[in-house]
């Protein structure tokens, strides 16, 4: 059995980046992350370079998975949004197209209401991109897949350190 892969191409990545950059400006937030439900980071906008986005992505995915588990236990379909309020920074997380998590970190320069409003608009745009991406990945021919050309030596070489 082969797991369904998530594939990202340059064109779609640029589209996602443009949406999150706009969201960053419009919502006056500090950092935006687009993370897949398994904790893989796809895109960031804003934020300082010392922010550990890998850890953040994995924890966000764990958080959303746990909340999804709670939803199942209480027979709720899915919680699409979460909000964590901090003293200086707050976090707004939204599930997009059931497989992507949009994470917005914001401070005192803005309000939760404005963030929610702008996120709602961005969600629609992101959903369209991810749906198109899914269709594109499904029709991609195997020849264009980089893995087809990998040899045993390539794999062995990874471990020769």
């Amino acid at each position: 059995m082969m797991n369904p892969q998530m594939v990202m191409y340059e064109e779609e990545l640029a589209q996602i980046q443009a949406i999150t950059d706009k969201l960053l400006r419009d919502s006056r937030s500090q950092t935006i992350l687009v993370v897949d439900k398994n904790g893989q980071m796809i895109v960031t906008s804003g934020g300082s370079t010392d922010l550990d986005t890998t850890s953040l992505s994995s924890l966000v995915a764990g958080n959303v998975a746990a909340t999804g588990g709670i939803a199942q236990v209480i027979r709720e379909d899915e919680f699409t949004g979460q909000f964590h309020e901090g003293k200086d920074i707050s976090v707004h997380m939204t599930l997009v197209a059931r497989r992507i998590i949009l994470v917005v970190l914001f401070g005192k320069e803005t309000t939760h209401g404005l963030v929610r409003l702008r996120v709602r608009k961005a969600m629609g745009d992101l959903t369209a991109v991810f749906e198109a991406l899914e269709r594109k990945a499904a029709t991609q021919s195997p020849q264009q897949n980089v893995f087809a050309e990998i040899t045993d030596d390539d794999i062995d070489n990874l471990f020769n350190d």
């Binding site: 340059e10 890998t54 994995s58 998975a65």
Partner: protein, 196 residues
């Protein structure tokens, strides 16, 4: 579910260490973390109780190097081994690309091993996976202990399908990287098979 980023030229895969409570899953990750060069690893995260028992998961991101210009990144997770954390274990298996079952070699933990292995199979099936078709290795841990069972006996009970199996003493690192490499290779091979 692997994530292939053609734009960033990256391959991301998820490996999960599964096994009964106190079998050494976290110890495996801790050893990998301490022995990996700074530039090849991210921060290790442990969501643990105050008594250092895994509550939700441990997480360790590793960069293994490049294949044909694609950076290979592996995200290593452990599950909480204690029986009552089953709901959390299920969540962590979502999107898994490869599984390492860490068995405790001690005779008195045999029942716990069998129970955990059954639980792994069941939880995978609930997520739509079949353990027999996933990249999968078994590690017999705690070989350094005097009450460790002989390998043939462990193998007979825990490895009927003869998947690759490794002896280990995670506490001093014996067998830890051998296990990881074997699993990572299987995952990459699986990706290759899936692309042809």
């Amino acid at each position: 579910m692997s994530f292939i980023n053609y734009s960033a030229r990256e391959i991301n895969c998820k490996l999960v260490y599964y096994g009964p409570g106190l079998c050494g899953k976290t110890t495996n990750l801790q050893f990998i973390y301490t022995k990996t060069k700074e530039d090849a690893k991210g921060k290790m995260i442990s969501l643990a109780t105050e008594t250092e028992r895994t509550l939700f998961f441990d997480f360790l991101p590793l960069n293994l190097g490049s294949i044909r210009g694609f950076k290979t990144r592996f995200h290593l997770y452990t599950v909480p081994g204690q029986v009552f954390y089953d709901a959390s274990r299920k969540l962590i298996l979502k999107g898994v690309d490869g599984v390492c079952f860490v068995a405790d070699s001690q005779e008195e933990r045999m029942e716990a091993n069998i129970e955990s292995l059954d639980n792994l199979r069941y939880n995978l099936e609930e997520q739509g996976y079949n353990l027999d078709e996933l990249p999968y290795v078994i590690q017999y841990n705690k070989r350094d202990l005097p009450n460790a069972m002989p390998i043939p006996a462990l193998s007979e009970m825990l490895n009927p399908n003869r998947v690759p199996e490794y002896e280990a003493a995670a506490v001093d690192g014996t067998g830890v990287f051998e296990t990881l490499k074997a699993l990572a290779k299987q995952v990459l091979n699986e990706l290759r098979k899936g692309s042809t």
